[in-house]
């Protein structure tokens, strides 16, 4: 692996940038791996990276149906934060946030993680109490959270409509200053390059079409590039978890829905933080290229279509313009959609399945991107040891039937709650 640095770039200025090696190999699959990870998104690649780096395993393959990072890793709004009310959630995501802060150096790949603050606006005194409660829960567990007054919010984001007559008046906010955003593709590519350099085989254009079983136990996978044996198999295909688990005969507490996002044409800096709100269904940030990145609610009905729906977009933009009226004359340049695994309590599933040797990582709803490092780390632990890490133990698959759901919004038990 050629090391990345400013110096190596400068060197390239004199050789026409001809010294760069491929960031990862394009190997053919071996007949057997100790661990196979299905899904070459950020989570799968991070899992492979930590399996190699933390657990010292080498005989690992990541199987990707298309091209790495082409699923939800490349189709989100790149927000990174750990500001959850429920302790199982904020502890998990905070572990990830700490990894984010050192990720570029760890991977020697600049993932452009920019902790410019994850700001949640409150629109009433009741919202402010809810935000305080969330912040207090975080602070009591050692996670940064700061309650902001109206004036502080106005100073931080001068283009917000702070008038008292606004439809959604802004009473204050909760900010997690260590939250922010990152460059999504770089996360997949950085983990891929890191994992590859540690010997992991990343096999693209290799779709899993079935499982090889010995009794109940899973001992390999059938793929479009032939049968591959495995000691343990980890599903890591959020968006399509139901489909892949279905190949093993499992029904999951997951419904796939479309989540769309959009970006405007680039403009000079105007939005400083990642703006979210307690009461509304939109989130706004500005990319390094200057585009205003906009997200909203998932479509709220099942779909595997990677295309958005104008009515959801209209609602998100209407709310965004009510908050930041100056966005009106910017032009929406591009929309994209991901297929999200909507779980039935809004929280992910990482852990064992009823089938020996088969593990599941999915159910990320619309919050998977920020989880990438923590998900990879804990899933690697689970796959390496066969048992969940304490951080992902609460996110077991059987929690629904047991009655131990982790419901941040209290709106369960269905993804499209009434």
């Amino acid at each position: 692996m050629s090391r990345y640095s400013a110096f190596s770039l400068l060197r390239g200025a004199f050789n026409g940038q001809s010294h760069w090696k491929p960031a990862w190999r394009h190997p053919d699959p071996k007949p057997h791996y100790d661990i196979i990870i299905i899904g070459g998104g950020g989570h799968g690649l991070a899992t492979a990276y930590y399996l190699a780096k933390v657990h010292g395993l080498r005989n690992i393959a990541v199987l990707e149906k298309g091209w790495i990072g082409g699923g939800n890793t490349g189709r989100n709004t790149t927000i990174v934060r750990s500001n959850y009310r429920q302790d199982a959630l904020h502890n998990f995501f905070e572990f990830g946030l700490k990894l984010w802060h050192g990720l570029s150096d760890d991977l020697n790949y600049n993932v452009m993680f920019s902790p410019r603050g994850a700001l949640t606006l409150g629109h009433s005194d009741a919202d402010m109490v809810t935000l305080a409660q969330r912040g207090d829960a975080m602070r009591c567990d050692g996670i940064d959270a700061e309650l902001l007054t109206r004036d502080q919010v106005a100073k931080l984001e001068p283009l917000l409509d702070m008038s008292r007559t606004a439809r959604f008046p802004i009473e204050g906010g909760l900010i997690q200053r260590r939250g922010g955003s990152a460059r999504h593709d770089a996360v997949a590519w950085g983990y891929a390059r890191g994992a590859d350099s540690l010997g992991v085989d990343i096999i693209q254009k290799c779709e899993v079409t079935g499982f090889v079983r010995d009794g109940d136990a899973i001992v390999g996978v059938e793929t479009t590039r032939g049968r591959i044996g495995a000691g343990r198999v980890g599903i890591c295909v959020a968006g399509h978890s139901g489909h892949v688990a279905g190949l093993a005969g499992l029904r999951l507490p997951i419904e796939s829905q479309t989540l769309q996002a959009m970006v405007t044409e680039g403009v000079k800096p105007m939005i400083n933080t990642v703006i979210m709100t307690q009461a509304l269904h939109c989130y706004i940030s500005q990319s390094d290229k200057g585009g205003i990145v906009f997200g909203g609610d998932p479509d709220n009905w099942p779909s595997y279509a990677q295309r958005g729906n104008p009515m959801i977009m209209e609602n998100a933009v209407a709310q965004g313009l009510a908050l930041v009226p100056a966005l009106s004359r910017l032009r929406m340049l591009r929309t994209w959609s991901g297929v999200t695994d909507m779980s039935f309590d809004g929280s992910p599933i990482i852990g064992e399945t009823p089938l020996p040797n088969l593990y599941l990582n999915g159910g990320w709803c619309y919050g998977g991107f920020k989880a990438t490092p923590a998900s990879g780390w804990t899933y690697a632990h689970t796959l390496a040891t066969g048992k969940p890490h304490p951080l992902n133990a609460p996110f077991s698959l059987d929690r629904f039937e047991r009655g131990a759901t982790i419901d941040e919004t209290g709106s369960g038990p269905m993804p499209s709650s009434r």
């Binding site: 489909h243 099942p302 104008p310």
Partner: protein, 87 residues
């Protein structure tokens, strides 16, 4: 944004409708806990057609079963449910 053929009103815009759940996740009133929770908490979630319950909430308020393809969103059947009604 789909157009759904309501059995009572004819073809109408999706905005008038709300998705409820899949037919296989209906929890019968007399189901014991294990069966009820299995229905409530697991889905086939096919990458293909499925039977879904929708309501024409902002139209005739009636419920219906829509057979819809999850990738193409093609709707192949819509069936009325509910009490007996006059034509």
């Amino acid at each position: 944004m789909m157009q759904i053929a309501c059995p009572h009103c004819g073809s109408r815009a999706q905005q008038e409708f709300m998705y409820e759940r899949t037919v296989d996740s209906v929890v019968p009133l007399d189901a014991p806990t294990d069966k009820a929770m299995a229905a409530l908490f697991t889905r086939t979630n096919p990458r293909g057609p499925d039977d879904e319950i929708w309501r024409h909430t902002y139209g005739c308020r009636a419920w219906m079963v829509v057979t819809r393809h999850r990738v193409t969103h093609e709707i192949t059947a819509v069936r009325a449910v509910g009490p007996e009604v006059l034509p």
